[in-house]
């Protein structure tokens, strides 16, 4: 229990769980104890090195995340030849920016246009393009999204505050194999002459999953 408590201190508490805190806490503590026992056992058996675990955690907490994908999108917006490369061979084009490896071995880029909106899900587990987006958010891995993204994508989009006209074609991509999808959201109007670095500030994680749009530059500036 102490271990879990100790590691908690980064203000992650889900606000809407607070009313249920005692119940949640005792349940999670049981899990925390089980995980801690497992780590002790695996270290004692010589199967894992705790320093390697720390390195794995640090990698995905600090070095790999959606800012990587935002750089890909911003470059695709700013550089038509790069966008072409993404269309032809997204794995190579993304690797060119240094984003390679686990859960990004076979990449496909999906371009949103005024007529088509793409949205990515994994109904069977939690497949997600780690090198460009990092680890998936909790909702992406949870039954409400996984069950409804394929059957009622417009309803799901509304839950995320995205309202698309009936005339837009919604295309859902269920990641059932080792192919990983990155949505290239539409470039917002009013960004002529912006640098790639400026553009990347408009690219949210959700816009690259397809549950959001790129940010409105007017709102970002204010």
């Amino acid at each position: 229990m102490g271990h879990d408590h100790h590691d908690h201190g980064t203000g992650h508490h889900h606000h809407d769980h607070d009313h249920d805190h005692d119940h949640e806490h005792s349940e999670l503590s049981e899990t925390a104890l089980r995980v801690r026992a497992l780590e002790s056992l695996l270290v004692e058996k010589g199967y894992v090195d705790p320093a390697a675990l720390d390195e794995l955690i640090e990698t995905y907490e600090t070095r790999v995340g959606p800012r990587n994908g935002a750089r890909v999108v911003a470059k695709a917006w700013a550089d038509p030849s790069y966008l072409d490369w993404l269309r032809q061979d997204a794995t190579a084009a993304i690797a060119d920016l240094g984003f390679i490896g686990r859960q990004g071995e076979h990449m496909v880029a999906l371009e949103n246009t005024p007529d088509t909106h793409n949205m990515v899900v994994c109904t069977l587990c939690s497949c997600y393009p780690w090198p460009v987006l990092g680890l998936p958010p909790v909702w992406y891995k949870s039954p409400p999204y996984r069950s409804r993204a394929v059957a009622n994508p417009r309803g799901v989009l509304e839950e995320f505050g995205v309202y698309l006209p009936e005339t837009v074609s919604v295309r859902v991509w269920d990641s059932t194999a080792e192919v990983r999808y990155l949505v290239i959201p539409q470039r917002p109007a009013g960004t002529d002459g912006w640098s790639e670095e400026q553009l990347s500030t408009l690219v949210t994680r959700n816009s690259m999953i397809g549950t959001g749009l790129a940010l409105d530059p007017a709102r970002v500036k204010s």
Binding site: D4, D7, H8, H12, D16, L28, V35, R36, A37, L38, S40, L41, L42, E44, K45, V48, D49, A51, A52, L53, E55, L56, I57, T59, Y60, G101, R102, Q103, E105, H106, T123, L124, C125, G134, L135, V138, W139, K141, S142, P144, Y145, R146, S147, R148, V150, A151, R154, V168, S169, V170, R171, W173, D174, S175, T176, A177, E178, V179, R205, N206
Partner: protein
């Protein structure tokens, strides 16, 4: 298998709890350790990604659905280690060694090796001699099947007509790879299904759902 993981099209799970961005990568200290242990144990090569997924989806449905994602990962990892003879149940319970560890003839993965292993990843593409059976633009049907083994053809697509839109070459076949029966690579395709062909008349006629499907999941339409 028609397990609890196959969620596409199910009802009743309630609203999506999204907190906006950015969200912490982990929500509890134990999640970090469970995540990292799952990866580090996977690096030892005693199982593959398909076997890992099968271990998770083989949890009893009620337990799977009542567990958080990293709880599912933890229980899946324990199952993999038990099956591989790396641990025994009593050890997992008390957190101490009771039997001599199986000699894997290698050291655990060290911190300095992590970056290179992650960069290398685990590509699933394989050279295969057979020509692809289907061409881009061709109409196909996802077969009807209900195997008790691992599969990546979701229930909601079985029996539905679609169209080949991408061809990815040969990819490791999960249905056998999950069970130690070999990689048996097959051609992998992205298939586009009209939402109405999958969900019925109430779906928007402009909407589509796509899935990445292996050749033996498909029949010529």
């Amino acid at each position: 298998m028609n397990g609890p993981q196959d969620l596409g099209g199910q009802h009743g799970f309630g609203p999506i709890e999204h907190d906006g961005e950015p969200e912490p990568v982990f929500h509890h200290g134990w999640e970090k350790r469970a995540f990292a242990m799952t990866l580090a144990m996977g690096f030892l090569g005693q199982w593959n990604i398909d076997k890992s997924r099968h271990a998770r989806e083989s949890l009893p449905p009620a337990k799977y659905l009542a567990s958080s994602y990293y709880q599912v990962w933890t229980e899946g990892l324990i199952r993999l280690m038990l099956d591989a003879g790396l641990v025994v149940p009593g050890e997992v319970h008390i957190g101490h060694k009771e039997v001599t560890p199986r000699d894997l003839h290698r050291e655990p993965v060290r911190a300095h090796e992590v970056a290179a292993i992650l960069s290398k990843g685990g590509p699933a593409c394989r050279e295969i001699a057979d020509a692809p059976k289907f061409a881009i633009g061709e109409r196909v049907t996802a077969i009807r099947m209900n195997p008790v083994h691992h599969t990546r053809l979701p229930r909601y697509l079985r029996g539905c007509p679609g169209e080949i839109v991408l061809h990815h070459g040969g990819h490791v076949f999960p249905d056998t790879n999950a069970h130690g029966k070999g990689e048996n690579p097959q051609h992998l395709y992205t298939v586009r299904f009209a939402a109405r062909d999958v969900w019925g008349e109430l779906a928007n006629p402009r909407d589509f759902v796509h899935a990445d499907l292996w050749e033996s999941y498909l029949a010529a339409a």
